[in-house]
Amino acid sequence: MSNRLITFADVSRFYGEVLGINRVNLAIPPGITSLVGPNGSGKTTLMNLMTGLIRPTKGDIRVLGIKPSHTEELCRVVGYCAQFDAFPKGLTGYQFVHSFLRIRGMSAAECDERTQTALQTVNMVDAAHRHVAAYSKGMRQRIKLAQAIAHDPQVIVLDEPLNGLDPMARAETIELFRKWGAAERHVIVSSHILHEVDRISDQVILLSQGYVVAEGQIHGVRSEVKDQPMQILIQCDHPHALAARLFQQDHVVEAKIHPDGKGILLRTKDADRFYLLLNRIILEGGLEVESVAPADDDVNSVYQYLIGGEGGAV
């Protein structure tokens, strides 16, 4: 089982006296995992550690059972699209992808084939023979992605991969992540764009000041945040009557009629008790419920509850 996981066991990394991450314990399964946190929270440190670019001050890391200190072995299964917008000088996009495949020891023919495939994947075939220096920010981002995936890695680590991409490219790239995630690969993504993280992630890791403050599936993480009442949106035909019933409950903190007059936004300290009550009300009759949905179990809300601030936006 551990050979399918990326594990961090009590891992700390200090830069001199500056904390990078501290006492991190993680077991990341295949699928899309998002690293979320403000600048300096340790996202890039975590990524650099799992790709072997830096070593932990303390603790043990395994990527599919491989120690990152075994760089030759690790780099066969890992592809990393780092945040740095920098490229070796004087190369075209094609040469950039091709050259680093050659360094892996592949034959020229195999490199040609893989380069073509990677360029097609990121939709960069037309611009492949232009110098990288002449690319737009979005094109540079895509060629970096092509270089990171050209060797067909099992673990794909992407630091702010959606930066600089136009909406179309962003949608295509997210679709790629989904495809890789569905193919049981590890896709580790850091992003500030929380609503997109919310859409694509199988699990999230929330980081703050070098500590992991929460991890897991976002709905599960939300339910663990006990000190913040859960928000639930109920759309129904008699919101005022429902609100009156709900106000009698001690776990209900707030119930607001929705501006369109067709629902209630409820805040409750005990969601389970609320759902039981709602079932009873419906069974008693007299209330037509159109939908019931949690209103704050997204990454943005969890981020605000756990880390504070506005989270992130496009």
Partner: protein, 277 residues
Amino acid sequence: MSLAARQLAGVIRLELKKTFFTRRGWWVYFLALGPLGLNLIHTLGSLRRALFHGVTQDSFLFAGEFQTYFLHLGMFFGCVGIFANLFRGEMLEKTMHYYFLTPVRRELLVLGKYISGAAVAVVLFTTSAVLSFYLVGYHQGAAWSDFVLHGPGLRQMALYAVTAILACLGYGAVFLTAGLLFRNPMIAAAVVWVWENLNPFLPTFLKKISIIFYLKSLLPVQLPVPPGRGGNLFELLMTEADPTPAALAATGLVVVTALILTYAAISARRAEISYGE
């Protein structure tokens, strides 16, 4: 071809693509090709004024040029420019991680970068030295051709070429390592330059901890000491009082180079990506 050989070839191919004929390396080309221009001017001037001062004098002229310019300035700083940037340049441009994310042993990476740098340096400076040697006496016509092709000139030319190659290999290893170890390898280069130039004044055992000591032992022509008060200082600077036999000097230099490169490989193995962010 084995995997390691293919990976090494991949590194060399990429490095040559990046380092040969780049605009930012113009000053290295200037350092290497500058003497050719000067010797061309010397030859053309001598032809115009019909100055034919004998092959021995031109041989001494080149010996002085090789010792003062090639060894102490041109090849030294040329190697600084080529080799110190092989790793430090990648760090400054934040491109080192692309190499570190490939499944290539760091030792191979060091070797590949070193070979590509050495290829550039050796081609530039050896070609420049050999052509400069040929040009310095070209105006002598048949006498010089005879000296070069049938006399001691051929041996001298070969020894200058060997010395240039060994200088590139030796200084290359030093500056590649400096680029790996120091944030600012220019400071290290300045320290090495002072050390190398202080060499004539050092006791024999300290002299041997340098590149220039071995290179001077390989030189085919010892410059005659000019008469007058400055003779002793000139002799001290230009002649090696305790020369090592040429074969031993060459072997010593290769061994020193190998040791420095081994240390660089160990350092690369431990290196992390730190772009100072």
